[in-house]
Every structure is written in structure tokens, then in C-alpha cells.
């Protein structure tokens, strides 16, 4: 009796996730967008090292100082006041440049909140060798603002995406898996919840509470999960009646295990596909709220606030153009990643190798 299936020799196994990653890598635009975006985002975490109004290290009269981590009164460097040193002050600079003394400044000598009191022309001032991209209408360095604003945007968007995905997957999974009355109740709740005017709520809340990034994150998260939960729900509804789930039930596997081991991994495709698009959506949301003045508290570096400055100072082209460029670059990188990811996860796309012939 021939019980044996015929021999087939195939290369070692790769999981579906790894095959999708291989397909993603094959899309060069998307792959390099991911690399570039991650590099910029990680570099922006260390923004203090590139763009700061304090020197990294100071050598003054034989001893070392680290203004980055500690405040030194001006008297330390021969000034008159006990206030924290302003390292942009020409007097202090002169002292630090004297014989034997030196200071290593960051690449861009301005922080996000530093006002340049010593600019040659009135604010907003055009790009100079001091302020490479000029200053805004309060005299803050534009390059520093953009760097810090990008950091705030990206990590705010990341946090918003994470909370949105967690809530959306949870809600969608519950609806899709249990179906029936649970599904019905949740769907009606989502309809009611989704009908709430988000913008008015934000305006009302910004009047009641002190605006802060955390408050904004909570408010936006409350409304950001609904779109995703619909996709996850549909996937769960489809997958839960597939034979492998039935087989698991017949084996006596519990509900929680079925969700975690069987249905969830097979339902995450839309979630992963939408991640970059959700990120770019979140960045845009924050930017537009800031533009309207409903977003981050005043003084926080923000791309939206810069855009609104650009609108108010239409002749200060450096403000609007450079902010626009940063936004376009960020959103483009995310969109390229999203496109590549969508292609990589498309079930109709096959690997380079032909599909296995259905032979014994």
C-alpha cells in the first residue's frame, strides 16, 4: 500500500510574514523610503545634539562645563548676573573664545524656543549665515523649529497610530468574533459615536482644559479607531467561519486562543497595510489642528503653527516654503511606504517562484 506522498525538494521554509517582507524589500522606492524615514525619525530623537542654544562642552579657565545637562549662571563665565547663561550673547561668546577657553557648539546654534535678539534684520528675518532658514515672526530660528516640530509630529502620530490600532483591533475583534447581538450593539454605538462632531468637541475641550499634547492624544484617539475596527471586524467575520477555525473549535481550543492564535494573525493584513497611511493622516490631523490654533500648547514647536505664520507673513517666503517642504517630504515617504506595503501584502501577488503545481 502506498501511503507515502511523493518526494518534493523545496528550499527551507519562510513564514508568510517573511515572504511579505521579501516582497516589500523588492520594491526599492518603498524600502528606501522606510530606511530614510526611520533614519530621520531616529536622528530627530537626538535633535538636542544638532540644534541647541547651548554648547555641548565648554572649557573655561581650566575646567570643563556641560551646559547641555546643567544650567550655569552667567557669573561662571565672567558675566554680571546670576541668571542662566545666554550662550548667544556676544559678550559670553567673546569670553569663551579667549585664549585657552573653547566651546563646542551644536551644528545649529538655536533651540526651538531660542529668540535671536541679535538678528541683523527685523523679525521675521530672511535666511542668513546665522539663521540658515531665517527666523519666524518672533525671532525663533526656523530650522530648529522645523527639526523639533517634525519630532513632535512624528512621535505624536506614532502614539496616535498605536492607540488607534490597539483600540480598533480590540473593538473589531470583539464584534467580528462574537457577532450577533454584540456586533449589533457595537455597530450602533459606533454609529452614534462617529456622528459626534469631533472638531467642536476639540474646541470645547480646549476651552475647558489647558491644552496639552496628552489631552490632544486622548481626544483624537477616542475618535481615531473606528475606521480600522470596521476592517478588522470584516476580517474576523470572514475568518471565524473558515474551516481552520472550525477545526480548532472541534479540537476544543478556547475562544481566547482561537482569537489570538488563529484569527488575529490572519486578520492583520488591513491593519498593517494602513499603518503608514494612518501615520500620515495623524500628522496631517495634528498639523491642521495647530494651524487652527486648537492643537499643541503655545510655544511647542509645531509644523501647523509654522504654516499659520507663513500664511500671516506671506512675504516671508522662507517660513511657508520650508515648512511645506518638510511636510511634503514626510508625507511622501509615508505614502511610498504604504504603497509598497500594500503591494507586499496583496494576496494576489505571488513570489518570483511560480506557484507550486498541484501534484501529489
Amino acid at each position: 500500500m502506498n501511503l507515502r506522498a511523493d518526494v518534493t525538494v523545496r528550499p527551507p521554509s519562510r513564514s508568510p510574514a517573511r515572504r511579505a517582507w521579501a516582497r516589500f524589500r523588492r520594491n526599492r522606492l518603498g524600502y528606501w523610503s522606510l530606511v530614510a524615514f526611520c533614519t530621520i525619525a531616529i536622528l530627530s530623537l537626538f535633535a538636542e545634539l544638532f540644534s541647541n542654544d547651548r554648547p555641548l562642552v565648554v572649557r573655561y579657565e581650566g575646567s570643563y562645563y556641560f551646559p547641555m545637562v546643567q544650567d550655569y549662571p552667567e557669573t561662571t563665565f565672567g558675566g554680571d548676573f546670576l541668571t542662566a547663561t545666554d550662550y548667544l550673547d556676544p559678550f559670553i561668546r567673546e569670553r569663551l573664545a579667549q585664549d585657552g577657553n573653547w566651546a563646542i557648539f551644536p551644528l545649529n546654534r538655536y533651540g526651538p524656543k531660542t529668540l535671536n535678539y541679535f538678528a541683523a534684520s527685523p523679525n521675521p528675518s530672511a535666511p542668513t549665515s546665522e539663521n540658515w532658514l531665517g527666523t519666524d515672526d518672533r525671532g525663533r530660528d526656523l530650522l530648529a523649529q522645523l527639526i523639533y516640530g517634525f519630532r513632535v509630529s512624528v512621535f505624536f502620530a506614532l502614539a496616535l497610530t498605536v492607540t488607534g490600532v490597539v483600540l480598533g483591533v480590540l473593538a473589531g475583534a470583539l464584534q467580528g468574533f462574537f457577532g450577533g447581538k454584540t456586533d449589533l450593539a457595537f455597530q450602533r454605538f459606533i454609529e452614534v459615536w462617529g456622528a459626534m462632531p469631533e472638531l467642536y468637541l476639540l474646541i470645547i475641550f480646549s476651552a475647558i482644559f489647558a491644552p496639552s499634547l496628552a489631552l490632544l492624544l486622548v481626544l483624537l484617539s477616542l475618535f481615531g479607531w473606528m475606521g480600522l475596527s470596521d476592517y478588522v471586524r470584516a476580517e474576523f467575520l470572514r475568518n471565524r467561519q473558515l474551516d481552520y477555525v472550525r477545526a480548532a473549535r472541534a479540537l476544543g481550543v478556547g475562544n481566547w486562543q482561537i482569537i489570538m492564535r488563529h484569527i488575529l494573525p490572519n486578520s492583520l493584513t488591513p491593519v498593517v497595510t494602513f499603518l503608514p497611511f494612518r501615520m500620515s493622516g495623524a500628522i496631517l490631523a495634528l498639523t491642521s489642528l495647530d494651524f487652527l490654533g486648537l492643537g499643541v500648547p503655545p510655544g511647542t514647536p509645531s509644523l501647523g503653527e509654522l504654516l499659520s505664520q507663513g500664511k500671516n507673513n506671506i512675504d516671508a517666503w522662507w517660513i511657508s516654503l520650508s515648512t511645506f517642504a518638510v511636510l511634503v517630504m514626510t508625507l511622501l515617504l509615508l505614502t511610498f511606504m504604504g504603497d509598497a506595503l500594500r503591494d507586499a501584502l496583496d494576496p494576489r501577488k505571488v513570489d518570483q517562484a511560480p506557484a507550486p503545481e498541484t501534484q501529489p
Binding site: 521554509s13 508568510p16 481552520y244 473549535r249 492564535r261 488563529h262 494573525p265 490572519n266 507550486p356 498541484t358
Partner: protein, 535 residues
């Protein structure tokens, strides 16, 4: 007789890989040629390439067709010329009439569209021609059916409508791609008869693509066998069936399931109490009621009513019936996955006595589903899939021990490490349909059940693989004294596997008894039709 279609050296390639590797055949006008092969043999692609419908394919060779406008080479023809030939000279009918018809238009309109396009008939003449065409395909009340949307027709009626559409312009050649595969067995015979009648009446040639040798024997004049894109044998049906020359043809003809089960007569002694005892089991599904009353309560659709049967150790109970007869629902009820009414006991225990009692029962009843592609999670490794039952029922087992058990279960179904290096860490997509079905059997066997529910275990497989899987199941039954509840629509599978059989129709058991008695001397008219459809 001159050839209507003469194909020479046809090669079809997708992305540089030849799927059809240089085949020659010809069809004379009025001839019925059957192209036979398993899935992946290139038979459908051959037909599609003749009409220029194989997307992204690279076709070489010649296909001379003697159409109304003289002899042309179909493969070299520009698209506009092909379009005039499609439907007028060569028509095609597909396997699945539900997807081949547009669900949003009445079938009459879809047939009329062909007539308007190809023959330029006006509206009034069209409507009359449509009704005539539908009448000629034997649809009752053709005038009313012409107004029906595809979902309002039964599967057989839809296929008749497709045939009417294909015949609208009296083509010289009809390409029929598995025209009966999606239909119930009793309907298959009718459709085949209809095709044969119409073929005689219109005097057209038919190229029938199929994997079903029964069909070929009944229908075709000549036969061409394809394997992996190569035509391995052709000749008249009588000659090929009488003395097949090629090994593959012999294998195909020989692939009818063979009976190889322990012969237990109806009076053979059975040890112990019955494994599964069902009396008066019924299953209903809630369905919405139209109108205001539907707001307050739901109607009930009775999927299974009053099913009474027993399964004893070491025996196979076959359940046969067409789609919608409630046989799969009955299987789900036996598995405790579907709430039911009446009394159903596994080893003397009913389902639903509480979590612990159900969990213990699940160990003794396991299942193998029809579709090997949807029954294995694509994101789990073989070890995870097969070992899952052990995780549930013997959670204290160490990983190394579990791996040993998984390997042993896999070896039992004929999958071994030396054929598949890293067998345990492989994913289902690397296995063929038959191998996946073996994995599904291993997953069920690892918890050492006494009853295995087989829900159409072979109907998604090619005939030769079907035979292997059935042989595996027969062997396992003998070795382990397993009982099977075998759900199928295929009389041949029942004949090969079952000791007893239930015939289901519209949720009711219409006939039951030992296989020999029921299938050789059927009493119920439905059983008679069923048996007649395969012999």
C-alpha cells in the same frame, strides 16, 4: 471530413514558464472532443488561448479555424477580428454559472445583449429570440425566467441560461469548460443530455474540458488526455478506454475509488455500545421574515429534521446528498459545533453538558474538512497546526515530547522528515492539496479520536490524489478501529468507503441501510436518480 479547428504546436507561457508545451489536435465540424486532465495540466488555458482570453499569456503555434470568413489563424488574429469571432463562431460556457452571469441583470437581458451585438436584432425580435432560446434549453416557463435575476434561478437553470447565451448565434464550435462540475450529480446528467441534444440539433462541434471520465464516456466521440501541458494520448473514446496506451491515461482510468475496507456485514457483531447515537436530531437556522412581523421575530429554516442513526466502532456511515440537503449541518451537529434539537450522544454523553464534559468529548470526535486550503491556517507551522490538539488536551506535555508525537502522527499519514527537510517548521503553502489533506488528517488523529467526521474529504482533490487519500483513510480505519461519519455527494466514494449509508434530501433522511442494499436496490426515487447518474 475537413477540420473545423486545427491546432498545431500550441505553446502557452506565463512569465516565461510554459504551461502548455506544444500540443496538436483538431476538431472536425460536428465532432465532440473531450480534453481531459487534472488541475494544472493546462487544459483550461488551452481553451482560453484559442479565444485570446488568456490574460498575460504568451501564445505561440497556430490554430487554424474555418470560420464564416474563411480560414483564419486564431492565435495571430488582431483583437477586433477575434471579438467578432467570439460568440458568433466560437462560444464558451464556464464552470460556475453564478460567477459567469452578471448578478445585476435579468438573464434574458444578458442573452439579448449577445443577440443585439452579434446579429443586430431589434428589441422586439430579441425578446422573442431569447424566449425561444431558453425554451430550447428546457427551462420551464421561459418567458418568466427571462426576467429572473441569476440568483433567482437554480444552479441547473443558470447553466441552461449560460448555454442559451452561448448558442444565441449558433456557433460552429462550443468550448465547454467543466460545464457540470459545479452542479449536483442528478442535474449533471440532465445538462449533459441537453448539450448532446443541442449539439445534434445545431450540428456544432464541442470541445469539452473536464476531469471527469464518466462524463467523457457518456458524451464525447474523441478524447485527448493532457498531463503537465503535454498531450499524452488521443483517440476515439472506445479505443482509449478499451486499451489506454500511456501510463497516465491508465492511472486516470484506474482512479475510480476502490473498496478496501474491512468487510462487516450488517449482522457482524459490534463490540460495545454505539459510538454515536442520534435520535430525532433536528437543526434549524433563524431566517429573517419579510414585512413588519420580521421586526419582532425570526422564521426558522429547518436544515435537518428527525435524523436518527447510530455509528458503531470500526464502521463507516456514509451520508450522501446534494448541496443544501443538510448533510454538512448534520456533521457540525455531530461535532457539537452547531446547536441541535433531539438527542445526540457520543459515547453515551450528549453535547453541551458543560465545558469540561465537552472538552473530553472533543477528544473522541475529530473532523477533516473538504477544502485543504481553508482548513489549515496559513500563518502557522506544521508543528503548531498538528500539535495544537496536544496543547489543548495534554497541556503538561513537554515540547520535545510533543514534537515526537507530531512527527509520529505525520509519519502515519505518509509525511516524513526525510522527504520534507524541516517538516515541522514548514508552512501549509508549501504542500500540495493532497499533502495538505494529509496534514488535516494528522491534526485530527493526534488526539486519538474514536470517531472521525469526514466532510467531503476528497471532493476538492484531483481524481488520482483522491484515490490516495481514500486509501490512507481505509488503512487508518483498519489499523485503529476508527469509525467514520463520511459526508459526500459522490456515490463512488460511498461505494468505496462506507458500510452503511444515509441518503439525505432537503434535510430529511429518505433512505438508509447497508451500502450494498441501498445502492444496488434503491427504493426511493431520489436514490434511484442518484445511482443512475453515475453508472
Amino acid at each position: 471530413m475537413t477540420a473545423l479547428l486545427e491546432v498545431r504546436g500550441l505553446r502557452v507561457a506565463f512569465g516565461g514558464i510554459d504551461v502548455v508545451k506544444g500540443i496538436d489536435f483538431s476538431i472536425a465540424s460536428g465532432e465532440k472532443l473531450a480534453l481531459v486532465g487534472e488541475s494544472g495540466s493546462g487544459k483550461t488555458v488551452t481553451a482560453l488561448s484559442l479565444l485570446g482570453l488568456a490574460t498575460n499569456a504568451h501564445c505561440r503555434g497556430t490554430a487554424r479555424f474555418a470560420g464564416n470568413a474563411g480560414s483564419v489563424d486564431l492565435l495571430g488574429l488582431p483583437e477586433p477580428d477575434l471579438r467578432t469571432i467570439r460568440g458568433r463562431d466560437i462560444a464558451m460556457i464556464f464552470q460556475e454559472p453564478m460567477t459567469a452571469l452578471n448578478p445585476l441583470f435579468p438573464v434574458g437581458n444578458q442573452i439579448a445583449e449577445v443577440l443585439q451585438l452579434k446579429q443586430g436584432l431589434d428589441k422586439h425580435a430579441c425578446a422573442k429570440a431569447v424566449v425561444d432560446l431558453l425554451a430550447s434549453t428546457g427551462i420551464p416557463e421561459p418567458a418568466r425566467r427571462a426576467q429572473a435575476l441569476p440568483h433567482q434561478l437554480s444552479g441547473g437553470q443558470r447553466q441552461r441560461a449560460m448555454i442559451a447565451m452561448a448558442l444565441a448565434c449558433k456557433p460552429k464550435l462550443l468550448l465547454a469548460d467543466e460545464p457540470t462540475t459545479a452542479l449536483d450529480v442528478t442535474v449533471r446528467a440532465q445538462i449533459l443530455e441537453l448539450l448532446a441534444d443541442l449539439q445534434r440539433e445545431y450540428g456544432m462541434a464541442v470541445l469539452m474540458i473536464t476531469h471527469d471520465l464518466n462524463l467523457v464516456r457518456k458524451f464525447a466521440d474523441r478524447l485527448a488526455v493532457m498531463e503537465n501541458g503535454i498531450l499524452v494520448e488521443h483517440g476515439t473514446v472506445q479505443a482509449v478506454f478499451a486499451s489506454p496506451q500511456h501510463a497516465y491515461t491508465r492511472k486516470l482510468i484506474d482512479s475510480r475509488p476502490k473498496r478496501d475496507v474491512a468487510d462487516l456485514g450488517p449482522e457482524a457483531p459490534t463490540e460495545g455500545p454505539p459510538l454515536l447515537q442520534a435520535s430525532d436530531v433536528s437543526v434549524t437556522y433563524p431566517v429573517p421574515i419579510p414585512g413588519l412581523r420580521g421586526w419582532f421575530r425570526k422564521g426558522a429554516f429547518v436544515a435537518v429534521k428527525g435524523a436518527t442513526f447510530t455509528i458503531t466502532p470500526g464502521r463507516t456511515l456514509g451520508v450522501i446528498g446534494e448541496s443544501g440537503s443538510g448533510k454538512s449541518t448534520l456533521a457540525l451537529a455531530a461535532l457539537g459545533l452547531q446547536p441541535y434539537g433531539g438527542n445526540l450522544q457520543v459515547n453515551g454523553q450528549p453535547w453541551g453538558r458543560g465545558k469540561l464534559s465537552d472538552k473530553a468529548l472533543r477528544r473522541s470526535v475529530q473532523v477533516v474538512f473538504q477544502d485543504p486550503f481553508s482548513s489549515l491556517s496559513p500563518r502557522m507551522t506544521v508543528e503548531e497546526i498538528v500539535g495544537e490538539g496536544l496543547l489543548v488536551h495534554q497541556s503538561s506535555m513537554s515540547r520535545a515530547e510533543r514534537q515526537q508525537r507530531v512527527l509520529r502522527a505525520l509519519a502515519e499519514v505518509g509525511l516524513e522528515e526525510h522527504q520534507f527537510p524541516n517538516l515541522l517548521s514548514r508552512y501549509p503553502h508549501e504542500f500540495s492539496g493532497g499533502q495538505r489533506q494529509r496534514l488535516a488528517v494528522a491534526r485530527a488523529l493526534i488526539v486519538e479520536p474514536t470517531l472521525l467526521v469526514l466532510d467531503e474529504p476528497t471532493s476538492a482533490l484531483d481524481v488520482t490524489i483522491q484515490q490516495q487519500v481514500l486509501r490512507l483513510l481505509q488503512g487508518l480505519q483498519r489499523e485503529r478501529q476508527l469509525s467514520y461519519l463520511l459526508i459526500t455527494h459522490d456515490v463512488d466514494v460511498i461505494r468505496a468507503m462506507a458500510h452503511d449509508v444515509l441518503v439525505m434530501k432537503d434535510g430529511e433522511i429518505v433512505e438508509s441501510g447497508p451500502v450494498a442494499q441501498v445502492l444496488d436496490a434503491p427504493r426511493h426515487p431520489y436514490t434511484q436518480a442518484l445511482v443512475a447518474s453515475v453508472t
